[in-house]
Every structure is written in C-alpha cells, then in structure tokens.
C-alpha cells in the first residue's frame, strides 16, 4: 500500500463549520502519522486560517479542504475563491495593531503561518487560490555507527533502497557536515523524502553494500535542485558516473534544468555551467563563511525567450545573457504611473538551520520599498543572515520591483534560466564578505 494518501472535505465557509474542519485536521493528522503536538499545530493553524477566511468572505463560498500524507510531511490545504483574500495578508511582517480591526483580522493568517513549518500559497488557476499548511514529521537523528570504507573498487551505480539511502544520509551528514542540508542528519526522513516522489537519488554501492557516494535532488516545477555529488572514497570517475546516471534518469522527465546552489568540490565541472557566485554567511561559530559558484545545466535545448528587464539592471542582464550564450529578447519595463495595488505582498521560504531566506513576490504594490525594508529588518532580527530574492523575469509586473529591491539593499547576483515562469534573477541582500 502506498504511504501517500489524501482525504478531502468540502464545507461552507462559515464559522459554524469550524469544528468540522478542525476535527478533520486533527483526525487526518493522526491518521497520517503526526505526533499529538504536531496535530495540535495543524489544528491551531487550520482554526486561524478558517476563521480568517470566513471573516473575509461575504458570499458564503464553499471551500475544499484536503489533507495529504506526503511521506515526510502532512499538508493541509484549503482551496477557495481568489476574491476572498487581500494580498497584503501574506506578509510575514504583517503588523498587528490592537486599535485596528482590519489589522487584527489579518493576524489570523500570521498565526497560522507561524504555527506550522511552512505556509505555501499556490494560485491554482484564474479563479482559485490554495493555502497549504505544511507540518514536517519528526525523525530521530542519525546514530553514530558507520563502517569505514576501505575498498576503493567495485562500486556500481544503482537504484536506491531504504537501508542504502539511510547509510548514504549518515555518510553525507558526517563527511559534509558544514555544507550539506540539515535533512541528511535524519536518515529516516531522507528515505521518506525519496518515497514521496519529490526527491530522488543515484548512489554508488559496492558488493558489501557500502555506499561510496551519490547525488541527491528534488524537483520543483521545471527545475531540479541537486545536492552533491557527495563522495566518500577518492574515485573521480565515480562522481562522474553518478552524475551521468542522474542525467540519464532525468533526461526524459518534466524538468528543464538543474541547479546546484552549493556544489561540492567533486562535481564534474564539464557537465555544468557557472551562473555566478554567491556568498553564504555561516551565522554559526562552528561553520565557515563561504563563497561558492552556482552550477547549472539545461536538460533541453534553449530556443529563446522574452524577458522583462528594468533599466536599472539592464546592464547586468545583458552581460549575464551574453556570458551564458542565452538567446533572450530583453523588453525594458518600468513604472509609468499606472494603477497598481496599494499593498505589496511577499512570500518567504525559510531555511532556519542554514540561516537562509528566499523571498519572492505575491503581489506588486506601491509600498514595495518599505515592505521589503521591513522584511529585511524582521528577518535579520530572527537570525536570518542570508537573504535572497527571486525575481521572475518572465513576468512583466515583477520588473517593476527592481527599484524597491535595490533601495532595500538587494543586489542582482545571477540569472537562473527557466527557474520560474521564465528566467529568475537571484538578488542577495546586504554587503557580502
């Protein structure tokens, strides 16, 4: 039986239905393996979200609430008509004033966001929006025992199995503690991540079942973010073999491109292009500040695209496209007094263990500069030392944000072709070492 399961209810968006949706959240959370404390988080978040939405809705709309077991997480999603929600409600910095009724109403969404591990906003189509409350399951940290690798030969690239994956996670966690993502410290979680279908791996294993190295990735939309290759024995050709096999596996997938934001030294350089360099501040005395190249590879031929560029970064964009030999038609766009929303809204993807935040825009509004500055202050206060912003150059309205981004201390670092709807421009905030 698959461990991916979904449950669904449809209810009227009225406060009288609150016990139905919170009961649903609790029971599905329990059925899908959340602890009591995690169930409580999910119930609290759902309660805040539902009450908040009900207050916004004057038409007693029907909402669809689904709960899905994603293997290593549970996601409770609420699908509702787009008109219900004011965009500004999403800002993580949304202020709450006890004297302001409208502000108090928005607090519900803020509380919902903070009760869970992630709040995702997905525009399903022209008419519906989906808010997803994600709670990740708890896993025990890796135990210390690991057999040393003595044999240098006999490793073959193969499909993964649970025990092999767990061993791989442990070895990554030990050998690449400073740069590997935190999830490798939880081998059981890595197994469930792969089982979810969102992540995958190619590993090199010998006859004794020892893992000599491997490569790990996740697919988000049309982009693959890959991690590694992590190699535990000194065989250069093995890093190439796992990379080759990963590419073969992805060759006819839905992905258009691959990116590695923090490559290891073992990555076969001739398989990838360098997009640029980013600096990562450790923010942890046990780790080091590092500058590293961002590596990239397309999986399909590039037949060109139109990109929307603000004049203030046109030089940077032209230089990037010329260096990357990418055929792009640059369309200059800037604000010309047209009517735009009063309030901007940004989504924030947080990686607490690495002190990183990736911002992107949900709504372009007149208050973008101040809003971005508030985000910077808020996130820095929360201990986030690496702030990035993804701007989608495939969307004309996003180009309008460039002056606000520059004004809030963001600098364009690199272009990530086909990373979003179109190419993404990665901005980094603040002075880097």
């Amino acid at each position: 039986m698959s461990n991916i399961m979904t449950a669904e209810i449809s209810v009227l968006l009225i406060t009288e239905m609150l016990p139905v949706v919170t009961g649903f959240a609790e029971q599905t959370g329990k059925a899908f393996g959340l602890t009591q404390a995690q169930q409580h988080k999910l119930v609290l978040a759902m309660e805040e979200l539902f009450v908040f939405l009900a207050k916004q809705d004057e038409q007693q709309s029907t909402v669809r609430v689904t709960c899905r077991n994603g293997g290593y997480y549970v996601v409770l999603a609420c699908l509702f008509p787009l008109h219900i929600l004011p965009a500004a409600a999403f800002n993580i910095t949304a202020k709450v004033s006890l004297d302001d009724d409208a502000s108090l109403e928005e607090m519900g969404l803020l509380l919902a966001a903070r009760a869970v591990d992630r709040l995702e906003v997905v525009r399903e189509n022209r008419e519906f929006l989906e808010l997803r409350l994600v709670v990740e399951k708890e896993y025990p940290a890796a135990s210390t025992g690991l057999e040393p690798l003595v044999e240098q030969d006999g490793y073959v690239v193969q499909a993964t199995s649970h025990e092999i994956l767990k061993q791989f996670a442990k070895r990554v966690s030990k050998a690449y503690a400073k740069i590997a993502p935190a999830f490798f410290a939880f081998p059981g979680k890595v197994v469930d991540m792969v089982a979810s279908g969102e992540y995958d791996a190619v590993l090199a294993v010998n006859k004794q079942g020892y893992v000599g190295g491997g490569i790990f990735w996740r697919q988000t939309g049309k982009m693959i973010e890959f991690f590694g290759p992590y190699m535990f024995i000194g065989q250069e050709d093995l890093a190439q073999a796992v990379t080759d096999q990963a590419l073969i596996k992805l060759a006819r997938s839905q992905a258009l491109c691959m990116v590695n934001l923090q490559p290891t030294t073992e990555v076969p350089q001739d398989y990838f292009e360098t997009l640029g360099e980013i600096a990562i501040t450790a923010g942890d005395v046990e780790k080091e500040d590092v500058k590293h190249q961002v590596l990239y590879r397309q999986l399909e031929e590039d037949n060109g695209a139109k990109v929307f560029v603000h004049p203030k970064i046109a030089g940077f964009m032209e230089e990037s496209y010329d260096r990357l030999v990418l055929p792009r038609t640059l369309l200059t766009t800037e604000y010309a007094g047209e009517a735009i929303l009063a309030h901007s809204a940004f989504s924030v993807a947080l990686d607490w263990p690495r002190g990183q935040a990736f911002l992107s825009v949900l709504a372009v509004g007149q208050d973008a500069l101040n809003n971005l500055k508030e985000h910077v202050v808020f996130l820095r206060q929360e201990g986030i030392v690496n702030l990035f912003f993804y701007l989608d150059a495939g969307k004309a309205e996003e180009a309008l944000l460039v002056p606000a981004l520059l004004g809030a201390g963001f600098t364009p670092r690199l272009v990530l072709p086909w990373g979003g709807y179109g190419d993404l421009v990665l901005f980094q905030q603040g002075e880097v070492f």
Binding site: E127, A251, R297, P327
Partner: protein, 372 residues
C-alpha cells in the same frame, strides 16, 4: 459572462499529468534572429541535404493547386499499390501514415490495453517510449550493450503482458545494427509471442551487405512489422509521410486504429513519384554520406574528440562540456545540432552528415567553441 475554468485536476488523467509536452524548435527565421546568425545549417534532424528525388521534385512542382480542394485518397491507395509492386507484397500489407510517428501510435494502440507493456532500448528514438507512456502503457527500457540493442536482455524482459518489441535498425543515434542472422535468431526466439516492430527509418543509408531485408522476412515472420519513412533518405520530411508493412492479418488489426485521410494529397503524390527514381537517389545520397562521414571522423580523430559513427546519416560526438551549452554556442555560429541528453547520452551531440563544405564549416565552428 466568461465560462468557468475547467476542473483540470479532475479532467486530466494521472498518466497525462506527468508528461511534459514536446516543444519543437522554433522556425529557422526566429532562431537566426535570436542567436544572431545570418545562416543556419540544420544538422539536427537528419534531413537529406540533397532534398527530394528528381521525380518527386517534378511531381511537387506539377501538383495541380486546384486539387487542394479535393480530399486525398483516404488510405493512400496508389502509393500502397506501388509499394506492393516494389517489395513483392500485397497493397493491403501496407499502412501509410502522417509520418512514421503516426504509425507508431497506430501499432501501440492496436495491440496494447491497460496493464500491457512494450519493450525497447533506453537510448534510442524516443517516440516508442513516449507514445506508450502517454497512452498509459509501460515502456520497458533495456540498456544498450556496446551501443547496440541487447537481444538477450530484451528476450529476458518479455512477460505475459508484453505486446510489442521495438527494434530501431540501424539504431538512432548510435548507428549500430542487427544483421540478418541476428534478427532472424531473435524472431525465432520470440516465436510469435509478441509483435516485433523493426523501425527502418535509416535502412536506406546502410551499405553493409549483411543488413537484413525485413520486407522479405515478413513472409516468414507474420509477427514482424516494418516501419519506413520518406522523411530521411527521400527528403520529404516537410510533407510528413511514412508507412508500415506486415502480414495481412497483423496489418488488418492495426488498420482498425488507423486515422484515415491523415496523409495529404501532395505527400502521396510526391511519395509515389519518389519510387520512380528512388534507387538513383539512394546511390547519390549514400556517396555523399560516405564522403562526409569519412571526413568528419578523420577530423574528430585528429582533434582527439571521441565519437560514435555507425550506419545512418549521422555521427554522435562526445564533448568535454554540456551538450546544451555547446548547442547554444554552435547556434551563434550558424550550426544547429541535436543535443543528446534527451537520448540519455549527456554531453553528446548528434550531427547530421551533409555535403563536405558544410562539414568543413562545422569542424571549424566546433574547434572555435572548444577553444574558448
């Protein structure tokens, strides 16, 4: 009032949701503008640089435009009759399609139902795999062995739900082929348990004397289905016309899934004329390909660049950089090649063999981009 947005999450079947649509390359004029090149040599689609045969050119030129108002023969009647004469088979042993891709779909849809599978290689023409998967059937992919189809592994992979085994002979893109003896041995071992499709899209380019004549084998192996096309050797790629041949009983089954009237009248006329001077055209093209292959492989050897050159009108080249990057760099210089990541050969490109001056220009461009 605008209509409601369709409930795509309900309407779209799961096997379609996971498929990425194939996006063909943009027209040459657009590509030239995008990459800033004044000329564009198409070395990506294995088109014949010599074009259609002389008789086909005349037939296209003389095609009566008024006939555009009249439906074509729904099942390419005259063409099937002429193919029957050429290969010594009944006209009913042929089905003509809008390119060979269409006949692949006819065959798969005729024999597969839910739970069935097809078998082919992992590194070969992708359309067998794609059609099977977007039709909801499993495609079992057998790794190539020494760049060729692995007959033993394919036989071992057959199960009770295997309906068709696809063999690309010669293989696109590696150019390897099964000789007559090996193909017959394979068919003997299959012993009618499945349909065996031999895709001979590039067979007319093969000069090796031991290359099998599958049209002749149909008499002995009624489960054998042969695919051929007018797009490659005969230069009618723009008109989209290909065909399959097999035993009367098997073709009769495939005909049930066949879309009639899918092949236009101009394509039928040009294909019919092609058969008048096909042999002469094949000889000229083979000479050009031979000369071009010898030149290219000799230059690549001098440059110490690994390559795979077998039969067919193409060579694949292993490069010390991403094939996607070199594609873009070569496009700037006016040479369009086929990247091979999609064929599961990362960092390889496939180059169509064309007359010597074009290949000389290609080598110059390749040398330039590798120097940087």
């Amino acid at each position: 009032m605008p209509g409601k947005f369709p409930a795509l999450d309900v309407l779209v079947p799961p096997h379609i949701r996971k498929i990425e649509p194939y996006i063909p390359s943009k027209p040459d004029a657009v590509l030239k503008e995008m990459y800033g090149c004044s000329t564009l040599h198409r070395l990506n689609n294995n088109e014949n640089a010599l074009g259609p045969t002389t008789a086909a050119l005349a037939a296209i030129k003389n095609f009566d435009p008024v006939q555009a108002a009249v439906y074509p023969s729904g099942d390419a009647y005259f063409l099937r009759c002429r193919l029957g004469e050429r290969f010594g088979l009944s006209p009913d042993a042929f089905l003509v399609g809008n390119g060979a891709n269409e006949v692949i779909a006819f065959a798969i849809n005729a024999f597969c139902q839910k739970g069935d599978n097809i078998i082919t290689a992992d590194k070969t023409f992708a359309v067998y795999e794609w059609v099977a998967e977007f039709s909801g059937f499993e495609a079992k992919l057998i790794p190539l062995k020494d760049y060729g189809f692995d007959d033993q592994a394919m036989l071992s992979a057959i199960d009770e739900r295997t309906k068709i085994v696809f063999v690309c002979n010669p293989n696109n893109p590696t150019g390897t082929y099964w000789n007559k003896e090996r193909l017959k041995a394979f068919l003997d071992k299959i012993d009618g348990r499945t349909i065996v499709v031999v895709d001979e899209a590039y067979s007319e380019f093969v000069e090796a004397p031991d290359f099998p004549d599958c049209m002749e084998l149909i008499k002995d192996y009624p489960n054998l289905v042969v695919f051929r096309t007018f797009s490659k050797m005969f230069g009618l790629a723009a008109l989209r016309i290909g065909y399959l041949a097999g035993s009367l009983e098997v073709v009769d089954v495939i005909r049930r899934t066949c879309v009639v009237y899918s092949v236009n009248a101009l394509a039928q006329t040009a294909a019919l004329a092609t058969l008048i001077d096909a042999d002469e055209h094949m000889a000229k093209t083979r000479a050009m390909i031979r000369e071009s292959r010898n030149y290219l492989t000799s230059e690549l050897t001098c440059l110490n660049i690994p390559f795979i050159a077998g039969e067919g009108s193409y060579v694949i080249i292993r490069l010390p950089m991403s094939d996607m990057l070199i594609y873009r760099k070569l496009m700037r210089l006016g040479y369009m090649v086929r990247t091979m990541t999609g064929f599961r050969f990362p960092n390889h490109i496939r180059v169509t063999l064309q007359p010597l001056p074009v290949m000389e220009g290609f080598i110059k461009a390749l040398t330039e981009v590798l120097k940087k």
